[in-house]
């Protein structure tokens, strides 16, 4: 294979891997990327990275996936570094020094050595590999914190006010080092198992494609950061829709009356003005443990959309229901503590802690029935798993009769509806139920379903 075809193959493989992660790249962009490679050359890996990112990506949130895939296809080094047998304490010493000096290049080299020295497992071909977990478990970089802090202080740097920032800074550096180790281990595995497969499986999805039900803590934090831009996006879309909808049909009576002054010639058509709709929103959120990530996120989104509606009321339930609108007041909302605050300040559970849709919905219809009127759109958020208790379809019917629309957003995949204790099919007969597993799906749904 000549050098040129090899570059082309590498590039198209890279593009295919990005596509498999939902990054939409057309042929035109691939050609641009090839031209960029020709302009920049392979000498400087970081320039190459930036050049490919500029030509292939279209939005900021694709960057994380891009970086991970890039590390696989354009690795820092190939094979194993030729170093002697690894000495754990010596490596920790050097790591501490590099962390203290915040030496990025050194940290990168140490990550490679660390995976090489401590990450390998298995000896027979086929069952061996490289593990970042094992590397970090043996190296324990997080225990270096005190040592690095003391050595920085001993050098007399960071005295005075900055000193209080030091620990957090070192923590962030250690976190970055862990990321480097993970990338290196992935690269090694990829070399062994074939790049394409690893790129497809081992790279984390972008935040808006993370499944709500399986999102980890860090991913949830990232999801929350997407709320603000998402809300703004939806708000502009709603505003545009509202502007368009404000133009009504021709008001014949007033047009004719206006035409009297021009001798019966209707010079100025008068448009009937629509009465501005004042949509109201009611949210019923299951906040039990199993779906809390989802409802947290949705509540934040709705709260961010607050100014678009005349009235938003939010109710949370597990097996009893309580209004939590007050806890979501703008400005007070501290996303991290939201779930905890709701469970601390609202009465959500009766004698047991598992969710019971029937009781909660019944209680809503009974106690807060007046919250729902002909202008109200109701969103129910939850997985419809009732723990084998009565789903209380009568209560749902009662709500649908009073409300303008009722939508149910279910974070479970459609295929699982109705399995086990899920009452989803029964509810779905009464209200529109939508599968809503990721932020991307949620924003599409919310944008489409919200009343103008």
């Amino acid at each position: 294979m000549t050098a040129a075809t090899e570059v082309a193959a590498r590039l198209t493989g890279f593009v295919a891997a990005l596509r498999s992660h939902g990054v939409r790249i057309g042929t035109g962009e691939t050609v641009d990327a090839a031209r960029a490679v020709a302009e920049l050359g392979f000498a400087d890996r970081e320039l190459l990275r930036e050049g490919l990112a500029a030509t292939l990506l279209h939005t900021t949130d694709q960057r994380k996936v891009f970086d991970a895939v890039f590390d696989l296809y354009f690795p820092r080094g190939v094979g194993t570094p030729d170093a002697g047998p690894a000495d754990r304490d010596a490596l920790r010493d050097r790591l501490a020094r590099a962390l203290a000096a915040d030496d990025g290049a050194m940290l990168g080299r140490l990550a490679i050595e660390a995976v090489d020295g401590f990450g390998g497992y298995g000896s027979s071909p086929g069952s061996d590999g490289w593990s970042s977990y094992q590397t970090l478990d043996r190296l324990r970089p997080q225990t270096l914190l005190a040592r690095v802090r003391d050595s920085v202080r001993a050098q007399g740097r960071g005295a005075g006010f900055d000193d209080r920032l030091l620990e957090d800074e070192i923590r962030r550096r250690i976190e970055a080092f862990r990321g480097l180790v993970a990338a290196e281990a992935r690269r090694r595995v990829a070399e062994r198992r074939g790049r394409d497969e690893i790129a497809r499986r081992a790279v984390a999805p972008t935040a808006d494609r993370v499944d709500f039900l399986y999102a980890g803590k860090a991913q949830l934090a990232e999801l929350r950061r997407t709320v603000q831009p998402l809300a703004r996006k939806l708000a502009t879309r709603l505003a545009a829709r509202r502007r368009r909808a404000a133009r009504g049909t021709i008001d014949l009576r007033r047009t004719l009356r206006g035409s009297l002054s021009t001798g019966g010639v209707p010079v100025r058509p008068v448009l009937r003005r629509r009465r501005p709709a004042r949509p109201e929103l009611v949210l019923l959120c299951d906040v039990s443990g199993s779906v809390s990530g989802f409802s947290d996120f949705t509540m934040l989104l709705v709260q961010a959309l607050h100014d678009q509606f005349s009235k938003v009321r939010v109710f949370a339930f597990v097996n009893r229901i309580d209004e939590v609108t007050g806890l979501l007041v703008h400005g007070r909302a501290d996303p991290e503590g939201l779930g905890a605050r709701i469970s601390a300040e609202a009465t959500l559970t009766g004698w047991h802690g598992s969710s019971d849709y029937g009781v909660a919905l019944g209680e809503f219809a009974e106690r807060y029935g007046d919250a729902v009127g002909p202008r109200t759109t109701v969103f129910v958020l939850g997985d419809a798993r009732t723990n084998m208790s009565d789903p209380n379809l009568a209560a749902v019917r009662q709500i649908t009769e009073r409300a303008r629309r009722v939508h149910w957003l279910n974070p479970e995949p459609r295929a699982q509806w109705g399995t086990g204790d899920s009452a989803a099919p029964a509810y779905a007969e009464l209200v529109e139920m939508h599968e809503c597993r990721t932020a991307r799906q949620l924003s599409a749904l919310v944008g489409g379903l919200l009343p103008v």
Binding site: D32, R35, A54, H58, T59, T60, L165, E169, K233, G331
Partner: protein, 285 residues
């Protein structure tokens, strides 16, 4: 325009714009591939400044289209000078109709707006389309024609094609999702917050009177604030403001009192101020 990525960095630095490797690489490619550059990122990291710096380096004229809700073809592309056309018509009452008609739709009565201005003429130009996300969707359609073929169609005059392509920079704060079609036509650059070292250099460049140690402290505190989960994290513009404020206050080093008193310069929400004060162990604000 540029010979290498390093050349871009060096020459931008000459105008007082310190570019990160990502910025320099993308500018270099935009020039080489002849494609527009879409720049996104938080407010105050120097998106607009980049266009100005490129214009200065290239010795080009900066043509700026500031987008806002309701900006339309007449504001972006061209308008006919109706007043002048009316004058022309009333001045030539004796002419035949044909003469008059052909006359009033000539270049003389054309008012070029930024997009058309950037395409016409042979002098080098940098076209800055600022805050593209603020414009309505229809304007995006207009941009598509201009940015892919660098041509504009004026019905009365025909199609005007650029003889010399301008260097185009579009900026966006991502308040609205730009269309896929528009994004495809551009190179994409996200300018985030600079790393510590670069930001220190920026502060030293913009506030020359500040001493090295204080600049380093300022950048470190800003870095810590950005790592917190704030409603509005401070950007480079705020770092510079803060450095200037500290100089004006006559502070040589950071201490609790100085930081507490000047936190309002960097943080724009009261809840952020409270949160930062708590995390930085400042006494009650």
């Amino acid at each position: 325009m540029f010979t290498s990525v390093d050349d871009v960095s060096a020459r931008l630095a000459g105008t007082g714009y310190l570019a990160s490797p990502a910025v320099a690489t993308t500018v270099f490619l935009a020039d080489r591939l002849g494609k527009p550059l879409l720049v996104e990122g938080p407010a105050g990291v120097g998106k607009t400044e980049l266009a100005k710096a490129v214009a200065e380096v290239a010795g080009a004229r900066l043509v700026r289209l500031q987008c806002y809700e309701g900006v339309d073809e007449a504001r972006a592309l061209y308008e006919w000078n109706h007043a002048k056309q009316l004058l022309r018509i009333s001045a030539g009452r004796d002419e035949s109709w044909d003469e008059t008609r052909t006359d009033i739709f000539s270049e003389e009565f054309l008012l070029t707006r930024p997009l058309l201005t950037a395409i016409r003429g042979d002098d080098p130009k940098v076209l800055l389309i600022d805050e593209t996300d603020k414009a309505d969707v229809e304007v995006e359609g207009l941009l598509l024609e201009v940015l892919s073929d660098f041509q504009v169609t004026v019905p009365e005059l025909g199609t005007i094609t650029a003889t010399r392509r301008p260097f185009v920079v579009l900026t966006s704060n991502a308040s609205r999702e730009l269309s896929e079609a528009l994004r495809r036509r551009c190179l994409f650059l996200h300018i985030g917050f600079p790393d510590e070292e670069l930001e220190r250099r920026i502060v030293r460049l913009k506030v020359p009177a500040i001493d090295e140690a204080l600049a380093a402290s300022v950048v470190r505190v800003i870095g810590a604030l950005r790592a917190m989960d704030l409603r509005k994290v401070p950007s480079v513009a705020e770092t510079i403001d803060w450095a200037r404020t500290l100089l004006a206050l006559g502070a040589d080093t950071l201490d609790e009192n100085v930081v507490r008193d000047s936190l309002g310069v960097i943080l724009k929400h009261q809840e952020d101020v409270l949160k930062a004060a708590a995390k930085l162990d400042l006494d009650a604000v």
